[in-house]
């Protein structure tokens, strides 16, 4: 085990989430426990409806749990106000969505710049970081284009650049290759694995695609809201 794994970045304790559908209560997550060390590339796999996106939403502080808690760098997310959570998402967490979720009225450059504007970075700093990040994902030439002019793979590269531009501690990816053909999906996962290795960014990827697990340092399986092999499957990733 590498030195990076010594310090847990994320700790999940007995996390549950229930949804009410009229009189029916759906238990989306049932007492999940998990630890994610700094520098990890964790793949959470499971079938549709297994609770993997719910788990990702709770880790990313975009939903509140019914019980249990998520600790990021030792800080309990349930104790933070709405404003503090927004700040945390901006500073420390990056998101990559299945549907790319770029803002269509902004150019590639502006989409990547957006989190830095929220962060209050100077114009010069923004320019440097955005161009560095676009270079990193191979889209430096397309900075002025609008998302409508990009292919699916390019969309996802922009989303990755946007997720990483604030240099977050944790990046959460929800089915990042699901809307892409297998070759492009593979490229995206290779990019994720490279950034994880080179920039030491912690990634948590949820997927129902078993191929994605090939890129994981560790992988866990989720079914019916329960983790089946909590934090045990570790593999070498290069």
């Amino acid at each position: 085990m590498s030195k990076d794994f010594q310090q847990p970045l994320l700790k999940i304790e007995n996390l549950s989430k229930d949804y009410s559908l009229g009189k029916i209560v759906v238990h989306a997550l049932r007492g999940v426990n998990l630890e994610v060390p700094q520098g990890d590339l964790l793949v959470i796999s499971g079938p549709s409806g297994s609770g993997k996106t719910t788990l990702l939403n709770l880790i990313g502080a975009i939903a509140r749990p019914t019980s249990g808690d998520v600790f990021l760098e030792g800080k309990a997310l349930s104790k933070l106000s709405d404003g503090r959570l927004a700040e945390l998402r901006n500073h420390k967490i990056g998101f990559i969505f299945q549907s790319f979720a770029l803002i269509p009225v902004l150019s590639v450059y502006e989409n990547v710049e957006y989190p830095l504007l929220l962060l209050g970075a100077s114009r010069k700093e923004r320019q440097r970081r955005v161009m560095d990040m676009l270079g990193e994902v191979g889209l430096g030439e397309l900075a002025r284009r609008r998302p409508n002019d990009l292919s699916g793979g390019q969309h996802q590269r922009v989303a990755i650049a946007r997720a990483l531009v604030t240099e977050p501690r944790l990046v959460l990816a929800d089915e990042p290759s699901a809307n892409l053909d297998s070759e492009t999906g593979d490229e995206i996962m290779k990019l994720v694995a490279r950034l994880n290795k080179e920039q030491k960014v912690t990634f948590i990827v949820v997927t129902h695609d078993p191929v994605v697990s090939r890129y994981a340092r560790r992988s866990v399986h989720i079914r019916d809201g329960r983790l089946l092999n909590e934090g045990v499957e570790t593999r070498a990733c290069d």
Partner: protein, 401 residues
């Protein structure tokens, strides 16, 4: 800046919808601008007419203002008038002043019969109201038995300039007095007609057997200074032991002008309300539609750290920008149409069949209210969609299809 940039881009995203909203609001604002411009023009004409008739200030005794017009007490004695002249001469806003004394009685000729009249006493060199002479000549200093009569009276008695008249009236003491007079000219003053005669104040004094006058009309350099000068003159009168005199402004005397302005403001308010409601619902519809189209986007920007108040600001800014652009466009449109109307020289029949020019007042004092209405209506209509966007739960918004 980020909020404004996004709001602007989002407005441009659905151009057809934005242009339709923009045009709808702009036409409403242009209509409101034109009506307000017309109202301001009509009110200004009425104000000019009122000031032409009464001047800016009138000074008279309390008894005169209270309607107790008998005996000598309600009149202003020459020594009191001298004190008033000194006060008015010292005020820098006073351009001119003139004395007046009215006279009522009968006038006519042996051949053509008699009729009642009301004679406004005016200083020949400085008459108020200033008559427009249609035939004959104006009054001049030294005229004693000369009169200006209306076109109505000239027609009724078949009089022409140069004709002689017999005038009968009561003196202040209640005695009857008759004198000869001459028709100097036939005049027209908008709003004055019938048996209204303008005679030299000295003639009226002679007929009423007094050297006193009833009113002093004061003309000012600036309309806007009316209230301020009225207060200043009143204070000076009181300080000079002339407390029996009271100053009234043209606004107090010209009730018609006051009623007209009130009426125009009521209509403007009603039209404004109708346009406000139209703008409100059209923008509310457009922005609510935009909100539903962008629910996932709201989820995205919230997920990457945008705060609720910033999302609120984005949607609100769209309303503000729409109001700003449509307000400016509406005012520009109204200004352009107003200029064309003014250049076209359109007239409509006024009181007495006189053609009145259809004028539209143009200026920032006309533009601000319609512009503000556009801005306020669009901003208020953006509050609801902005509130809903800000309250969205991120995870639900991201799932929205």
């Amino acid at each position: 800046m980020l909020v404004i940039k996004l709001a602007l881009r989002n407005l441009l995203r659905n151009r057809r919808r934005t242009i339709l909203s923009l045009l709808l609001i702009a036409f409403g604002i242009a209509a409101l601008f034109l009506f307000r411009g017309y109202g301001v023009d009509v009110a200004a004409m009425a104000r000019e007419s009122a000031i032409r008739q009464v001047w800016h200030l009138r000074i008279a005794t309390e008894a005169f203002w209270d309607g107790e017009r008998y005996g000598y007490d309600y009149l202003i004695a020459p020594e009191v008038l001298a004190g008033v002249r000194e006060i008015l001469a010292e005020d820098p806003q006073v351009v001119s002043y003139t004395t007046g004394l009215s006279l009522m009685g009968l006038l006519g000729t042996e051949e053509k019969g008699t009729t009642t009249f009301l004679a406004i006493g005016a200083e020949p060199g400085n008459p108020v109201p200033l008559p427009e002479i249609k035939e004959g000549r104006p009054l001049k200093d030294g005229d004693l038995g000369a009169m200006l009569i209306t076109q109505d009276l000239a027609r009724e008695l078949g009089l022409q300039p140069g004709d002689n008249l017999v005038v009968k009236a009561r003196t202040v003491d209640g005695l009857y007095h008759a004198a000869n007079a001459e028709v100097a000219g036939i005049y027209h003053v908008p709003g004055l007609g019938g048996n209204m005669v303008i005679a030299p104040v000295s003639f009226n004094q002679m007929m009423r057997g007094t050297d006193r006058i009833s009113t002093i009309a004061v003309k000012l350099a600036d309309h806007g200074a009316t209230e301020e000068v009225a207060l200043r003159v009143q204070r000076a009168l009181e300080e000079n032991d002339l407390a029996g005199l009271r100053v009234k402004t043209w606004q107090e005397l010209a009730d018609f002008h006051h009623q007209l302005v009130l009426f125009l403001n009521l209509i403007f308010g009603f039209i404004g309300l109708v346009i406000f409601v139209l703008v409100f619902f059209s923008v509310l519809g457009a922005l609510t539609m935009a909100f539903f189209e962008r629910i996932r986007e709201v989820g995205t920007v919230r997920a990457i750290g945008t705060r609720r108040h910033q999302v609120f600001g984005m949607f609100l800014s769209e309303g503000v920008l729409l109001g700003l652009f449509s307000g400016l466009l509406g005012v520009a449109l109204g200004w352009g149409i107003g200029s064309l109307i003014n250049v076209a020289g359109i007239t409509y029949p006024g009181p007495g069949g006189q053609p009145v020019p259809l004028g539209i007042a143009l200026g920032l004092d006309v533009a601000w209210a319609p512009f503000l209405l556009a801005l306020v209506a669009t901003t208020i209509s953006a509050i609801y969609p902005a509130y809903r966007a800000a309250k969205l739960e991120i995870a639900s918004a991201l799932r929205f299809v």
